[in-house]
């Protein structure tokens, strides 16, 4: 179902809010945006439209273990015991499992307002660690899920070579992830053609973390690239301590000191930084990849928002709960809990916290994923709201975003369009029943 023209009472355009906005869409692309015009007779009309949010960090397969690591194992649980549970879970996944799980996760992302996902994909090999005949086997399952659900994909195949700082050999739990520089280059080459068949897809690179790569490897996989470069960094305090013990430097400090970090870089988490690291990262114009729900679930800690003047976006990471709007809410709430003050990420007097959060996440996340979402000429991706929701009724412009993020939550998201096609209606993905049924069958197999 491709609509040709849309009309919104209010829409958030790249320059700000506009009233009576009319879009014309051809072949999935917005070719004209007019403000201050009446609706035409055949227009598809909605009250309020927003650009879609970018989800800059996802491990789709982890959706299937959501909620399964919330019982205490030892009575002394941490990120690291969670990671062991994740390694045990990952050992069972086939390409078909991944396809079904990713489709469910991507449908849920669309339902809460994400229109693009950055899939940080490290699950390359077969269950016994052996290479698939086709190196891209698992990535292709991701592409299928993106195609099926309609979400835009920035694919971030992960380079993962070692088990810890100092080029420690990978553990058995990591055997499905590892490759060498040549193998990784081969994978990237293999991915280009199938990825080009996915509308608006982007290819990036992702050295997993400073634990998983040597300096030489890091330079080999990132040097001279134009597209996104993503890396996990400074998520856990122990990681900072281990990095200090290994190098005498903290993770972000080490990264900034050893490679050319530029605006294509996304530093995922960057939770534990000194003020100097935060300033250095902002000076490099790298994007902070913040994943508030996962960072709370894993006990990572709270990003120091006031210390970081740079760009950020949000990611659903472990996908323990997929909710773009709750990510934004929890990002701000973490700041308030840490500082004892209110309206921290909103940019100052008179500024709407919800409005600033939404705009910054659209721009920062889009920058990190190599494609900024906007109600402007380009892919016709946007989100419409249920303005009858009690928390939105009677509001306009940024007060809508304050209501959406802090009072209504994602239940107020009504429709989502990708390339002019409605993929979410009344808050549900148009193929949800089929995708969910297949997911449940896969889950029954995995939990058996």
């Amino acid at each position: 179902m491709v609509e040709r023209t849309f009309h919104f009472e209010q829409a958030l355009l790249p320059d700000g809010w506009a009233a009576d906005v009319r879009l014309s869409v051809d072949q999935g692309m917005i070719d004209a945006v007019q403000a201050g015009v009446a609706a035409g007779p055949g227009d598809k009309r909605h009250r309020v439209a927003l650009p879609g949010l970018p989800n800059l960090h996802s491990h789709a397969f982890q959706r299937a273990m959501a909620g399964l690591a919330e019982a205490s194992s030892s009575g002394d649980d941490s990120f690291w015991t969670w990671r062991e549970a994740m390694y045990r879970f990952v050992a069972r996944l086939s390409p078909d499992h991944l396809r079904a799980i990713a489709a469910l996760a991507y449908a849920e992302m669309l339902e809460t307002g994400f229109t693009r996902v950055g899939e940080f994909h490290y699950l390359h090999h077969d269950r016994d660690g052996g290479r698939f005949a086709d190196l891209a086997e698992m990535s292709l399952a991701i592409f299928d899920a993106a195609a099926e659900t309609g979400i835009a994909l920035t694919h971030l195949p992960v380079f993962y070579a070692h088990g810890d700082f100092g080029a420690i050999a990978p553990s058995e739990g990591q055997r499905r992830f590892v490759c060498d520089v040549d193998g990784y280059a081969g994978l990237l080459d293999r991915l280009r053609r199938p990825l080009s068949a996915l509308p608006d897809a982007v290819l990036g690179v992702a050295p997993h973390s400073l634990r998983a790569v040597t300096l030489e490897e890091l330079r080999a996989v990132t040097a001279g690239r134009q597209g996104p470069v993503h890396v996990h960094i400074a998520e856990q305090r122990r990681e900072v301590e281990d990095c200090l013990a290994w190098s005498g430097m903290r993770p972000v400090e080490w990264l900034l000191g050893h490679v050319e970090v530029d605006p294509n870089w996304c530093l995922v988490h960057a939770t534990h930084m000194t003020a100097a690291e935060a300033a250095g990262m902002a000076a490099a114009n790298a994007v902070a990849g913040l994943c508030p729900i996962t960072e709370a679930n894993l006990g990572d800690g709270i990003f120091d928002g006031p210390a970081f003047p740079g760009r950020f976006g949000i990611g659903s990471d472990s996908n323990v709960l997929i909710d773009a709007i709750e990510e934004l809410r929890l990002l701000e709430y973490g700041q308030r809990l840490a500082t004892g003050r209110r309206n921290i990420m909103g940019g100052g007097p008179g500024r709407s916290t919800g409005g600033e959060l939404y705009r910054r996440a659209v721009l920062g996340g889009g920058g990190a994923l190599g494609a900024v979402s906007a109600i402007a000429p380009g892919p016709a991706d946007f989100v419409t709201l249920d303005m009858d929701h009690a928390s939105l009724a009677g509001r306009s412009e940024d007060a809508i975003l304050d209501g959406l993020i802090f009072a209504a939550g994602s239940r107020a998201i009504d429709g989502v369009w990708r390339r002019g096609r409605q993929v979410v209606a009344q808050g549900r993905h148009v193929d949800r029943d089929r995708i969910a049924a297949r997911y449940r069958a896969v889950l029954a197999e995995l939990l058996a």
Copy 2:
């Protein structure tokens, strides 16, 4: 619609999970619970039933300002600037406004699994501060909202006499709240008869805070009472500092040292306690009234869960966002962010965090509200889940609660019954459309 018999594949009973549970219900009351029995031909069948959650702390009227205080005023916003905005908002509310707002709030509470609300009600007088001809005018609006939506009510009329520590005169913003000890006693007397017409209603007392009462008044309104006693305490650091400056003692320390705190007491927030205060409060077996969403929104801080071995429940407080399940999730996530560990409120090795959170909130919140919700003889109040939800499929017993709280969220709540009557179906209150339309009309008036 009163059902006579129900059958659940799994149900959380007071002694724990049971399979194949059959209830018979007469006049809204469960009169028998059998486990391990097959469904009868006329049974209303559901997969999973839970006891309803108590919402131990609500200011219903604040629902209408949800999202309206999320833009920065001065650039240096805090609880205290928020409170000024709240005072300005409250100055406009009529009894009819309150009735409509509370009905919307209570419908939303039921939709997310709350079956009883503790309404901490301080909005007693008319807009100009004048007394209504009927002292109970505003309370009666609350009773109407409870009756209309079906939620069980613990009414907590607030005693509020002063503006700050040391019996400072109340400000103009507080003029609708204040009364003296005799006036308060008159209000309680006036409320008994109308309250007795509300099924399962409970009456308690609520000295507002140590700022609002003298020791003499505190003793006068709480001494010798049998029912719930609720008080705001130690929510903000400035409140602790002001209490120290006034008395040389911290708020919880002062309270425990000056009145007999017993298991009927609910100390709302109790965010800022020393280890000695936490131990003293637990020894008194008072309930900690935790309101994680509001405490995050207002920048109050994180309750120290590991330091407090006592009873707790959850409250939606400012009602900025009403979601029982998110309250439980954020309670645990605050603990993880503060400690850097996982599964903090779950009680140790092998214990489900979600299961323990749910059970403790049911028992502690019920204790605080003078009526414990249970699938047992008594009012037929319970919640059923959508077990086709991707985060619940294939799970049983406590793994269901881990999935509900951490992975699915309140969208997985399907049905809610109060006194055997279904008040929520497919996640929506049965009267939602009418209640929401009236609420929107009131809001349009208030925001005009």
